[in-house]
């Protein structure tokens, strides 16, 4: 096993995602124009959308990793699923918080049942449950198996939830959000694209670090077991 200091790719990834997030920040504040209707507060939109994208993408990776685990039964698929869920939860929490912060000045209330915000909050609840499920099982093999099943069933309900929540809001038209459309300019679209790329890179970096951490924990557990045997 290599020492952490030798992880060249890891260092490169951390550097790259750091630069990318700084560039995105710079573009959000200095490149993107001031939105006409909502003013400065609209600038939260770029990171709000980017963290939502990473959140949903992370849960999709967990879904795929769940299928991988059930098909192969290998520990690495479980590590991928677990790592991706933790990062996805962080980003989806950011989405919900930035959404609420944006809603207050834009619509005068912290929470509107805006469909995209609502489905993000539903995802947050689902994957908190996923974490609780993992925490409530002792056997590592069973934990991985149950978590894989839950990750799969949970993800297939996402499109169904989306349609249900969207139609629900269309049937009860929300006056607050109906005027929320934005006039986008090319500069805004470019800023959004850079933010999305920066956050995706950040996701890959964090995912890689989290997987390494879990592998290190596994290695440590094996070493402890060996040390115990030698001790006896």
């Amino acid at each position: 096993m290599r020492k952490p200091g030798q992880d060249r790719l890891g260092i490169v990834l951390v550097g790259l995602s750091g630069v990318a997030v700084c560039v995105a920040l710079g573009m959000v504040f200095f490149y993107a124009p001031r939105e006409a209707a909502m003013g400065e507060v609209q600038r939260i939109f770029y990171f709000h959308v980017a963290s939502a994208w990473v959140g949903f993408f992370a849960f999709f990776i967990t879904f795929l990793a769940g299928i991988g685990y059930l098909a192969r039964g290998e520990r690495r698929w479980d590590i991928l699923a677990l790592s991706s869920v933790e990062i996805g939860l962080t980003f989806i929490t950011m989405t919900v918080i930035t959404g609420a912060l944006w809603a207050k000045p834009a619509w005068g209330t912290y929470w509107t049942w805006e469909p995209r915000l609502t489905i993000s909050a539903v995802q947050l609840l689902i994957y908190v449950a996923y974490g609780m499920l993992r925490a409530a099982i002792d056997s590592p093999e069973r934990k991985a198996r149950f978590a894989a099943v839950y990750g799969i069933v949970a993800f297939v309900t996402v499109p169904l939830s989306w349609f249900a929540i969207r139609w629900w809001r269309t049937i009860h038209p929300d006056i607050l959000t109906s005027g929320g459309g934005m006039a986008t300019t090319p500069k805004m679209t470019q800023t959004l694209m850079v933010s999305l790329a920066a956050f995706t890179l950040l996701y890959v970096t964090l995912l890689r670090q989290r997987i390494r951490l879990e592998r290190a924990a596994d290695a440590l557990a094996r070493l402890r077991l060996r040390a115990d045997r030698i001790g006896k």
């Binding site: 059930l70 539903v122 609840l125 689902i126 449950a129 609780m132 499920l133 409530a136 099982i137 002792d138 069973r142 198996r145 149950f146 894989a148 099943v149 839950y150 799969i152 069933v153 949970a154 297939v156 309900t157 169904l160 939830s161 349609f163 249900a164 929540i165 139609w167 629900w168 049937i171």
Partner: protein, 223 residues
């Protein structure tokens, strides 16, 4: 023995066990009536307000009562060691899934058959119409299917019964929204075509959920 007869044997076993003890259905029924009263007190449901709230209260009650029955149904398999017998028997895992899910569906249906007239009377709402009955059936199928899968997971965790609602309710959100909207529409005198979108969503939910639960159930019960 054909697939259907194997499934039926498991259903018959669950029904016989329930007729013997009556613990699941009686707990679900008493809980449902209590929930009905609690909702009425909490929301001060009278007159027009009661009629407007009836579909939501009905589905919330069914969802919560369902978690009671579902966790009991799988916990009973576990405690009696019956699940080990089922796994040893020359049965497809999907036959066990359908057997348990259909059993749970029957128990929930019995509770609903009692609840619907009670709701109609107490909330002065026309719930006993064919459209509403179809919506109730469709909503319950998906809920019982995913509930059976997740209850099999929950009984094998340290938290047991506490785990099931946490796992199940967020996944049931699309079915609950569609069922409440369709029921509410029909009660307000909407035609079948007007609530068609919601009914189709329920049908799609049922198909997707039954398929995924059937495919993954084997991984949950294997040791």
């Amino acid at each position: 023995m054909g697939f259907v007869r194997k499934v039926w044997a498991i259903v018959a076993k669950d029904v016989a066990a329930e007729l013997h003890t009556r613990e699941m259905i009686s707990a679900m029924l008493v809980f449902s009536v209590l929930a009905l009263f609690i909702f009425s007190f909490a929301l001060d449901l009278r007159g027009a307000m009661a009629r407007a709230a009836a579909p939501g209260v009905l589905w919330a009650t069914v969802a919560f009562a369902g978690t009671l029955g579902l966790s009991r149904s799988l916990a009973r398999e576990q405690q009696t060691g019956c699940i080990d017998g089922l796994l040893l028997a020359p049965l497809d895992r999907s036959a066990i899934f359908f057997g348990k899910a259909i059993g749970n569906l029957i128990f929930m249906a019995v509770v609903e058959i009692v609840l619907l007239p009670l709701f109609s009377a107490l909330f002065d709402t026309p719930l006993l119409q064919s459209g509403v009955l179809i919506v109730v059936a469709l909503g319950t199928v998906g809920y019982a299917a995913v509930g059976t899968l997740l209850a099999a997971i929950a009984v094998n965790t340290r938290a047991r019964e506490v785990m099931l609602p946490v796992l199940l309710l967020p996944l049931a959100i699309p079915a609950l929204i569609a069922a409440v909207q369709a029921t509410g529409g029909l009660v307000d005198g909407a035609t079948w075509a007007e609530v068609g979108g919601w009914v189709r969503l329920l049908v799609v939910y049922d198909m997707v959920i039954v398929a995924v639960s059937m495919l993954t159930f084997g991984y949950v019960v294997e040791e």
